[in-house]
Amino acid sequence: MTHATTEDFYAGSSDEEFDAVYLAQGGDWADIVADQAERGDETIVVNMGPQHPSTHGVLRLVLEMDGETVLSIRPGIGFLHTGIEKNMEFKTWTQGVTYVTRMDYVAPIFNEAVYCLAVERLLGITDDIPERATIIRVLMMELNRIASHLVAMGTGGMEIGALTVMTIAFREREMILDFFEAISGLRMNNAFIRPGGVANDLPEDGISHLRTVVDWLKKHLPEYATFCNENPIFIGRQSNVGVMDLTQTMMMGMSGPPLRATGYPWDLRKTQPYCGYETYDFDVVTWDSDDSYGRFRIRLQECWESLKIVEQCIERLEATQGQPVMVADQKIAWPAQLSVGADGQGNSNEHIKHIMGESMEALIHHFKIVTEGFKVPVGQVYQAIESPKGELACHVVSDGGTRPYRVHFRDPGFNHLQAIPMMCEGGMMSDVVVALASLDPVLGGVDR
């Protein structure tokens, strides 16, 4: 039975008929290969994704193959486009946080942070953010950086057959997400960082919980080095794959681990500090192999650097116990500190008692700020931060109203996917998966 047909069931009505179409149903690969050999087709077009598990979400790759060699590859994106930027134009500035946190869902805290920093710059209150709020932001960002790098290393390992790396990475990540849940009520999509500060302070046992997380990570992070760093199969699969040297990364505007894997120590936390990163002691990790293996090593080492920052945060949190976590300006600050109830996030009982039983003005104020929000002066800003994937930035325009006029997110994954053809063409099909994983794109952020 032949698998080649000229009738393409998936073509649009206006598409031209073109060559033979192979229908792969699984388990019939040998037949297809034999068919193709018999027909003498020189190349075959393979559609990978958008539901392929190794495309990190719903990425579609269209490959033109000559045997197992990739002649050309084109990424197709947009399958997870949810109109976040457009939706935010119809919500208040604070409500916007719940949208942005869902973009790059592996690193939600960074989306919130970059958006809030941009809104605060528009408001001109950057210097008024309480110290403790900034420390908590840094703490959450660095823990999230570890979690995101764990996913990158874990799924990247899984895709080349190192399944154990995935299982242990998700075990560690879950410890971090448990901590996020204890702090914000949610594992992911936290909406924890708000314009003006953070939603609530750490719970009473927050620091001790944090210490157990740090101890756990310190105990288990070395396992990745043991499993991978010197593993000949791991090195063989990753080194000299997805090579991008400094000139190429600059040309494609790459940032984050792919840029630092060329030996260039560019980290916005150091070069253009925000949230007081200049006061923390940590190193920028670089590697000089230009390839996927270098990017893996950078991610692993960055987990340790983040852990260093987390420990400094613990000291500072102990020194700032009881200080505010939200800006003092009552016209901007969310009226209540939320509290994490048994069922997750919830209102503070004291606040409810105050507005419902004691002060009508407080109730009016609560109602006004929650329904109406606050006005942000006219203007535009561009705020960039170092997300685990690279430069994550936010371009916000305000028309002086209570809603954003335009918000645009510059997601590092969106930018990095442009480099896929350069990284993969001329290589083997199996290396496409490795090269892609080394960029760590998250399609929620790419498509927004």
């Binding site: 486009h81 560019w266 930018n415």
Partner: protein, 233 residues
């Protein structure tokens, strides 16, 4: 007092400002749409404009960029509007000069903006004749600084030259801006839709494109779709 000011003199100086800054948004009352404005401020009229033009000196990096840009591009940027706001320098580049400006900004050793990190569109339907804006954020690794270039084009002629030849990384960003705003980037190698389906009609992030959504009725109460709810903006 002898040196009493006339009312005109008492106002902030407008010298150096462009003749008329387009009205960014006109707002009336405390809220609009939905139910009537019962706030008592229904007669309130506000006209909001973007910050206009600023004159040097700005801060040190912005001055360096601005003065060097004028030095190497006197014809292209001679009359261009420049804005220094919230620590960020914006240069409003006439669209016919964008290609030359981008190339010089990349290649001149004192400017050396190696990367165009982001391109984003903004739609200002109020600004007649320059409704569509394309905003470029450039980053210099060498000098560790950023600049914003803003280019506008009218709705009837939505064409802006592509900078992909200078900044290859702007490829996807320009495609997204075309997809969302309908700005045609002339000279782009393959200006196709990127986030929306290929056969989509319209450009969703323009202000005249509705958000969509349906009204919801729950236990007799009626909640309008998000873009039909009362707005306080």
């Amino acid at each position: 007092m002898s040196d009493e000011l006339t009312p005109e003199e008492n106002l902030p100086s407008t010298s150096g400002m462009p003749a008329q800054q387009p009205v960014f948004a006109s707002k009336a009352g405390m809220w609009s749409r939905g139910s009537g404005d019962t706030s008592g401020y229904g007669g309130l009229q506000r006209e909001l404009t973007m910050p206009g033009q600023s004159e040097p000196p700005f801060d040190e990096p912005a001055d360096a960029i601005h003065s060097r840009a004028l030095e190497v591009l006197p014809e292209e940027l001679g009359g261009a509007r420049v804005l220094f706001d919230r620590g960020e320098l914006t240069i409003y580049v006439p669209r016919e000069h964008l290609t030359a400006v981008a190339k010089t900004f990349r290649d001149d050793p004192h400017l050396r903006f190696e990367v165009c990190v982001s391109v984003s569109g903004v739609h200002y339907p109020q600004e007649k004749g320059e409704e569509l804006h394309s905003v470029y954020h450039l980053l210099s690794y060498t000098h560790n600084r950023r600049v914003r270039l803003e280019v506008s084009c009218p709705d009837e002629d939505p064409h802006i030259p592509s900078i992909v030849a200078t900044y290859p990384m702007a490829d996807y960003h320009e495609r997204e801006t075309w997809d969302m705003f309908g700005i045609v980037f002339d000279g782009h190698p393959s200006l196709t839709r990127i986030l929306m389906p290929d056969d989509w009609k319209g450009h969703p992030q323009r202000k005249d494109y509705p958000l969509g959504g349906v009204d919801v009725e729950y236990k007799g109460a009626h909640v309008p779709a998000p873009d039909n709810r009362r707005t306080y903006s």
